[in-house]
C-alpha cells in the first residue's frame, strides 16, 4: 500500500490531469538565464589561469607555493568569518577563491608564507566580511590586503625575484628591481630615464621581468581578459577607459619630453596595469553598475595611476588608483542614473 502510494506521488496521474505532487509557487519570471554567481566566479578563475601558469613558468615553485597558500588561507578565513558573522554567502559561491588567487597575484613571488596568510586574513576580514560579506564590500579585498601588507612589511613586499628559466641549475633566486622601480630610481637619481630605456618591450609583454607574480605577463593577462570579455563576465568599458587614459596621458608626457618620460607602451605593459585594468578594477562588487559609470571609473583609475607613477615617490600606482576609485563608486552610481524610458 505504502509503496503504491509513493509511486503515484512520483508520477502524477497522466490521464485524468489530477496532480499528486504539489506545485511550486513563485513570482514571474519562471525561467532564468543559465549563468549564476558560481558560474561567473568559475569563469573568472578560468580567466586567471594563464597568468598563473606564466608566473609559475617564470618564477617556479616560489610562485606556485604563494598561490596555493593564498587560496587555502583565503578559503579557510572565509569559512571561519562566514560562521562568526553569519553573513549571507558561502564558500561554494567561488568569490573567496577568486580573492585568494588575486591576492597571490598581487604578492611578490617568494613571499614568506606568513605574509601570505596575514594577507588572506586581512583580505577576508577587513576587505569583505566586516562590511557584510559578498556584495557589500566597498573596496577590492585583495587590494586592501596588498596595501595593508605594503605598509606593514615594506621590505618583504618589495623584494622582487627576477625571472629565471623554469628548471634552474643554480640554487639561489636572484633579486632585483621591477621595470617601474628602475624607472623611478633613474628618474630620481639622474633626472633622466637612461637604464629603463634598455628594458625590452617584448620582455614586458611576455613577462620576463620582476614584479608581483600575477602581473608580469601582459600576454597571459590579455588572454584571460579576452576570455572574460567573450563570456561577457566583464564589459569593455573599464579596461578600455583605464588603459586608454594611461596611454593617452603618458603619451602626451613622452611626446613633450622623451628623455624624462618613457613611452606609453612601456607604461601599459609594465607593473600591475593589465592585471588591475582587466581583473581588479572590473570587480563587479566595487565598481559602478552602469556603462557610463564604468567609463568614468576607468578614466579616474587611469588619471590617478599616471599621477602616482610620474609624480609620486612610489613606482606603481594601480592598487591605489583602484582603491581610491572604489571609494567613489557610490557617488558615480548616483550621478550616472540612466534616463527612464520615455522621460524627458
Amino acid at each position: 500500500m505504502q509503496e503504491e502510494r509513493l509511486k503515484q506521488k512520483q508520477s502524477p496521474n497522466d490521464k485524468s490531469g489530477v496532480l499528486t505532487a504539489p506545485l511550486k509557487f513563485s513570482a514571474s519570471p519562471h525561467i532564468l538565464a543559465p549563468e549564476d554567481v558560481p558560474k561567473i566566479m568559475r569563469g573568472v578563475v578560468w580567466a586567471l589561469l594563464p597568468a598563473g601558469f606564466a608566473s609559475i613558468y617564470f618564477f617556479g615553485f616560489s610562485a606556485l607555493s604563494v598561490i596555493l597558500i593564498s587560496v587555502a588561507a583565503t578559503l579557510f578565513f572565509e569559512y571561519i568569518f562566514l560562521r562568526i558573522f553569519g553573513n549571507k554567502g558561502s564558500i561554494a559561491d567561488g568569490s573567496a577563491l577568486v580573492t585568494g588567487i588575486l591576492l597571490a597575484y598581487n604578492l611578490p613571488p617568494g613571499s614568506p608564507w606568513w605574509l601570505v596568510v596575514v594577507g588572506a586574513f586581512i583580505a577576508v576580514l577587513l576587505g569583505k566580511q566586516v562590511y557584510g560579506g559578498l556584495g557589500y564590500n566597498i573596496f577590492n579585498p585583495a587590494l586592501v590586503a596588498r596595501v595593508f601588507l605594503l605598509i606593514a612589511w615594506p621590505v618583504q613586499m618589495t623584494t622582487w625575484i627576477l625571472p629565471r628559466p623554469p628548471f634552474p641549475k643554480g640554487a639561489e633566486a636572484v633579486t632585483g628591481a621591477t621595470p617601474l622601480g628602475v624607472l623611478k630610481t633613474e628618474f630620481f637619481t639622474k633626472g633622466t630615464i637612461g637604464a629603463a630605456k634598455a628594458i625590452h618591450l617584448s620582455d614586458l609583454f611576455y613577462g620576463k621581468v620582476g614584479g608581483s607574480l600575477g602581473e608580469v605577463s601582459a600576454l597571459a593577462l590579455l588572454i584571460g581578459g579576452g576570455y572574460l570579455l567573450y563570456r561577457k563576465i566583464i564589459s569593455w568599458h573599464i579596461p578600455v577607459a583605464y588603459v586608454g587614459t594611461v596611454f593617452l596621458m603618458t603619451g602626451i608626457f613622452w611626446l613633450v619630453n622623451p628623455d624624462k618620460y618613457i613611452n606609453p607602451v612601456f607604461h601599459i605593459l609594465a607593473g600591475g596595469l593589465m592585471l588591475g585594468a582587466l581583473f581588479m578594477a572590473t570587480d563587479m562588487v566595487t565598481s559602478p553598475v552602469t556603462s557610463k559609470g564604468k567609463l568614468i571609473f576607468g578614466v579616474g583609475c587611469g588619471i590617478i595611476t599616471v599621477v602616482i607613477r610620474l609624480f609620486g615617490s612610489y613606482p606603481e600606482g594601480v592598487s591605489y588608483s583602484i582603491l581610491v576609485m572604489n571609494a567613489f563608486t557610490p557617488l558615480i552610481d548616483r550621478y550616472t542614473k540612466p534616463k527612464t524610458f520615455g522621460a524627458k
Binding site: S26, H30, L32, V37, P338, G342
Partner: protein, 451 residues
C-alpha cells in the same frame, strides 16, 4: 511591398530559449465545450462585472450574464448553454478565490451569431464600433486583459494617428497568436481596419518577430489583396518586443512617457492580434467574447497544442485533451514563462486573459534560492525601461517606498528581463510588484484623506 524588415529595436531586453517548436506546428483545435464552466466576474482590469442572473436561471450561449460596472469594465457572457448553479467564490488564476458564475451545461450548443447577417464595416460609425466592442465584453487578449473599448475611446485632445497590431508574441512557448496569424490572416486584417476606423487613424502597422516570417508574409499578402495600406514590420526576436512601449519604439521610434503616460500620448494605440481577430468577429457577427485560443505547452504535457477554448473551462480539461502529463510538472503557469501567473489548482478556469497554459518540468524552471547581489549590473543592461533594478530592489527590501518611487519603480512593466538575467537569482519583479502595490495603495489613501 508591405513587408518591411526592421532590425532597429529598443534598448535592453533578453533572449531566452524560444521553446516555440513544441506547439508552433499544431493547428488550432476546438476543445469540446465542457459540462460545467466557472466564469469569474473579474476577468479584466477595472471593476468586476455585476451579475444579471441568479441561481436557477436558464442561459443560452452568448447571453449577457453580468454587466459592465463603470467605464473601465466589460460585460460577461455565458460560454455554454445551461443553468446557473452557483454564484460564489471559486479558484481564480490570480491565486485567490474570487466571485464567479457557474453554469451547468445542458448539452445543446447552438451558436446564434453565425446565422445573423454579416455587418458591413463601411456602414458603421466609430461610435457603433465602440458600442459593439463593449457589448461583446472585449478585452486585450495578450494577457493584460484591459477593456478594449477604452482603448478605442481616446480623449478628443489626444488624436491617434497610428495603430499597431501586435503580433510579436515574444514570450517563449506561446504560439496562439502565431497560429491565428497563419490560419486567420483575413479576419485579422478586417479587425485592423475596424480598429483603424474606430480611431480615425491615418496609418496602420502590424509588428511580427522574425521567427514568424511566414505569418508576416501571409498578413502582408492579405493586406495587399484587400487593398489596405498597412505595413507589416518584421522585428528582431527579442523579449519583450511585444511590450507595447517597446513595440512603438521599435516601429515608430517614439517613446511613450513614463506612467501615467500612455501610448495615446504619442498618438498610438496597440492591439494584440488575438484581440483584433476577436474584435472582427464581434463587430461583424455580434459575437461576444466566449472563447479564446490557448497554447498548452511545456515539457510536462504529452502533446502540446493550440486550443480554441470556451471561457470558464477548467485547466484540467485542457491538459486531458492534450494527452495528460508526460512528466511530473513542478510548475503550472498561466500565460508565458516570463510574465505568467503560477497556478496550484487545476480546477481553475480559463479566463479572457489566458494566453497559455504551461506545464513545466524541473529542468525547464530554475528553482533557486535568493542569493546576494554582486552588483554585476546585468539587470540594468537588460531593463527595457532603463531603470536600476538592483537599487530599487535594495530599497524595496527595506520598505523604503519613497526611494523606490524616486527611482521610477512605477514605470516598471514587470517584463522580468532583470530577474531572468540575475545571476544571484533575486526575485526582482516580485519586489517591484510589491512596491507598486504599496505606492498605489498609499496614493489612494492620500487622495481619500484629502477629499
Amino acid at each position: 511591398m508591405a513587408l518591411i524588415f526592421k532590425r532597429r529595436t529598443f534598448r535592453g531586453g533578453v533572449h531566452p530559449e524560444e521553446m516555440k517548436e513544441l506547439a508552433k506546428d499544431s493547428p488550432i483545435e476546438v476543445l469540446p465545450p465542457p459540462r460545467r464552466v466557472v466564469l469569474p466576474l473579474s476577468q479584466h482590469l477595472g471593476a468586476p462585472s455585476e451579475p444579471k442572473v441568479k441561481v436557477g436561471d436558464e442561459v443560452k450561449v452568448g447571453d449577457e450574464i453580468a454587466g459592465a460596472k463603470g467605464f473601465v469594465s466589460v460585460p460577461l457572457h455565458a460560454s455554454i448553454s445551461g443553468k446557473v448553479v452557483a454564484i460564489d467564490k471559486f479558484p481564480h488564476p490570480c491565486g485567490r478565490r474570487m466571485p464567479a458564475i457557474v453554469i451547468e451545461g445542458d448539452g445543446s450548443d447552438e451558436l446564434p451569431w453565425g446565422k445573423k447577417e454579416k455587418q458591413k464595416i463601411d456602414e458603421l460609425t466609430p461610435e457603433e464600433i465602440r458600442k459593439r466592442v463593449l457589448a461583446a465584453g472585449m478585452v486585450g487578449l495578450g494577457g493584460a486583459a484591459f477593456p478594449s473599448h477604452v482603448k478605442l475611446s481616446p480623449p478628443k485632445e489626444k488624436p491617434i494617428d497610428t495603430i499597431i497590431i501586435n503580433g510579436a508574441e515574444c514570450e517563449p512557448y506561446l504560439t496562439s497568436d502565431y497560429r491565428l496569424m497563419l490560419e486567420h490572416p483575413k479576419e485579422i486584417v478586417e479587425g485592423m481596419l475596424i480598429i483603424k476606423k474606430a480611431l480615425s487613424a491615418e496609418q496602420a502597422f502590424i509588428g511580427v518577430e522574425e521567427n514568424k516570417v511566414d505569418a508576416a508574409e501571409l498578413l502582408a499578402e492579405e493586406c495587399e489583396k484587400a487593398g489596405v495600406d498597412a505595413k507589416v514590420v518584421v522585428l528582431k526576436v527579442k523579449y519583450p518586443q511585444g511590450g507595447e512601449k517597446q513595440l512603438i519604439k521599435a516601429i515608430l521610434g517614439r517613446e511613450v512617457p513614463p506612467p501615467p503616460g500612455l501610448p495615446l500620448d504619442v498618438g498610438v494605440v496597440v492591439h494584440n492580434v488575438g484581440t483584433t481577430y476577436a474584435i472582427a468577429q464581434a463587430v461583424k457577427y455580434g459575437k461576444p467574447l466566449i472563447e479564446r485560443v490557448v497554447t498548452v505547452s511545456g515539457k510536462a504535457v504529452r502533446e502540446p497544442k493550440n486550443l480554441l477554448v470556451r471561457l470558464g473551462t477548467p485547466f484540467s480539461e485542457l491538459i486531458d485533451y492534450c494527452g495528460g502529463f508526460s512528466a511530473p510538472p513542478v510548475k503550472v503557469v498561466m500565460g508565458g514563462p516570463m510574465m505568467g501567473l503560477p497556478q496550484f489548482d487545476l480546477s481553475t478556469p480559463v479566463v479572457k486573459g489566458t494566453s497559455g497554459l504551461l506545464l513545466l518540468t524541473e529542468d525547464e524552471v530554475t528553482l533557486a534560492e535568493e542569493g546576494v547581489c554582486i552588483r554585476c549590473g546585468r539587470c540594468i543592461d537588460v531593463c527595457p525601461m532603463n531603470l536600476l533594478p538592483t537599487e530599487i530592489a535594495a530599497y524595496c527590501r527595506n520598505g523604503m517606498w519613497d526611494e523606490a518611487e524616486a527611482l521610477d519603480v512605477l514605470a516598471c512593466i514587470e517584463c522580468g528581463s532583470c530577474a531572468y538575467n540575475c545571476p544571484a537569482r533575486i526575485p526582482l519583479v516580485h519586489y517591484f510588484k510589491t512596491a507598486k502595490a504599496e505606492i498605489n495603495a498609499r496614493r489612494k489613501a492620500q487622495a481619500k484623506a484629502k477629499s
